[in-house]
Amino acid sequence: MRPGQMLSYDYTVAKLFMFSTIVFGIVGMAIGVFIAFEMAYPDLNYIAGEYSSFSRLRPLHTNGVIFGFMLSGIFSSWYYIGQRVLKVSLSESAFLRCIGQLHFWLYMLVMVLAVVSLWAGISTSKEYAELEWPIDILVVLVWVLWGVSIFGLIGIRREKTLYISVWYYIATFLGVAMLYLFNNMEVPTRLVSGYGSWLHSVSMYAGTNDALVQWWYGHNAVAFVFTVAIIAQIYYFLPKESGQPIFSYKLSLFSFWGLMFVYLWAGGHHLIYSTVPDWMQTMGSVFSVVLILPSWGSATNILLTMKGEWQQLRENPLIKFMVLASTFYMFSTLEGPILSIKSVNALAHFTDWVPGHVHDGTLGWVGFMTMAALYHMTPRFFKREIYSKSLMEVQFWIQTAGIVLYFASMWIAGITQGMMWRATDEYGNLLYSFIDTVTVLIPYYWIRAIGGLLYLIGFFIFVYNIYKSLSAPKLNAEPKNASPMGGMKVEVA
């Protein structure tokens, strides 16, 4: 690049991942809504024989939204943000460009294999790590390719200081790599014994140990996919979109290192009152409460970035999405610690409160942030304005209503369930049989399913808006600062 020449970023890989974000968003959420309706109306289980039962579809839903939708969004944002904050274009390195493409296509292959195998019931049963060993090996390859891309781009950077977002991407990469490798340690049985299926494997860990490793992974997959990488996005997109600098550098530092240190301890809260040693349960509980500090540190830092500029909430729906996302982040990182307190956990564990808690984080925080990221990137990828601001408003309110219905119904359902399980009569006998505690929840399951449906409808509005944007008249240059939605003038080169 000669001096004075404009750096032109290469969005080919980022665009590919953007499309996969949308496709997996639709598929994963649609399955989620479908299984929510199955719980309210069980006859839906039989629409397609064994392939439509709740139990088969549930891993498809979780893997589809976590590793299809959210991870695609993370990759897409990395291939966008990475170039920009490091001041280097992917097109400057044929090698890294190639790695990026390979990363995408291998990832696609893995996702297709994952869908087919999970649907067929080929599973290790470990939550969010259900894939069998041959696919696990491919997953590791995908991850290595992403690592090469991250550190490769960092290696040829012009901007010497790593921006906050890059810290979080590095942490996502390292965290997931470590967790995934250790949790998926398994022995392929055919290779050892010479009998049976090639796809089958047996876990390296047994019983209580297996559960410990599983929840160290399971909880922290939430950390490094649902949280750390999403913070990376908001630390870039919110300042860009609002034209405001991050509120406090010190708070960024504190919350980053705090989160890194504390998050991994909290997995133990999934095992309270189980057979893992008591001190581990206590540790999981205590660290979960401590986790409020770095989580709220990030969230307040993000919200205070809007200090003095709150009128933007009215003008720019994108700001709204991001502010609501941070608010849900605060909400759900307060709810999590509450659920980790032993006495609350005794009531709420194994109940519907848990999926309720997960979904106010994922729908509110991760979903909103991912869509906001795509809304911000689309005008820059395609040099076209977002088609409709009012559709964004409609989408925002429909989805917000959906989330509220979702978590409110699951809160009530969870507490009802927990109370009924433990209710005894005056002689100390159990008051309810198990089925009583199931049938009483059906109305809440309907509300939850409708809440999920609203969110999905909102997502379709989002997709429609993006689709229409792609066919809008082309601008000559990408918007400079705030997105065109903010009412700012677009500079034409």
Binding site: M39, P42, S53, I154, M178, W216, M260, Y273, H349, V354
Partner: protein, 221 residues
């Protein structure tokens, strides 16, 4: 120090890794060997039971049923004695689950019968009115994969020293012996069932998935 780190991605990454790896080392490793010790008298799963366990995993039963009884009166009244670590020493992987849409199953063998399970899997509402569990009719027509179950048993015996073929422990033997043993264990289960198709198939030497699954569920006690 932080400004320096932010300019040195290698050291930055090393720092991040050390900070995140710390929790795992302190929390997971110390008690690892201890927790893997089986309760005295605890036996590893037979080949038929393992095949049933695979059906359980294949259909993701653990998405709705737990296998972990917590030490509360309400749970011990409902499900039986609370869980102990040593009971899980042969569970690879654990199937504790994270959500009870249906009841806990860790001691279901104590209070449900073959006959009950059969009807429950065929038409859940026939035994539990109001149940929202789906039926699993295909388990009655598909064969259990005994060979993969045998492969698993042999693997854990070789790699993790699970005590098959030792005194007072289940015999594993060769594949043919294991198959014979599975048929022998399946016979009384098929006998107690009412499904004609399953009975006919068993006469031809086929073990359906439902038989293996029931063998597994009956072993949970």
């Amino acid at each position: 120090m932080f400004a320096w780190l932010e300019k040195n991605p290698f050291f930055f990454a090393v720092c991040v890794f050390v900070v995140i790896a710390y929790a795992g080392i302190v929390e997971i490793l110390p008690d690892f060997a201890n927790r893997a010790r089986p309760l005295e008298g605890r036996q590893p799963y037979s080949v038929l039971e393992l095949a049933g366990r695979h059906v359980y995993i294949k259909e993701s039963c653990n998405a709705c049923h737990t296998q972990m009884i917590r030490p509360f009166k309400s749970e011990t009244d409902r499900y039986g004695m609370y869980s102990l670590s040593g009971e899980y020493a042969f569970d690879r992987p654990h199937l504790w689950g994270s959500k009870r849409t249906g009841p806990d199953l860790w001691r279901v063998g104590d209070y449900r019968t073959t006959d009950w399970h059969e009807h429950h899997m065929k038409a859940p509402t026939s035994v539990v009115p109001g149940s929202i569990m789906p039926a699993y009719p295909h388990m009655f027509s598909k064969d259990a994969d005994l060979e993969t179950a045998y492969a698993e048993a042999l693997t854990v015996k070789k790699v993790f020293n699970v005590p098959y073929d030792t005194p007072n422990m289940p015999a594993l033997g060769t594949w043919d012996e294991a198959r014979e043993a599975a048929l022998a264990q399946a016979a009384p289960i098929v006998e107690a069932m009412s499904d004609e198709g399953v009975k006919e198939a068993f006469k031809r030497g086929e073990i359906k998935q439902i038989v293996a699954l029931i063998a597994y569920l009956n072993s949970l006690k």
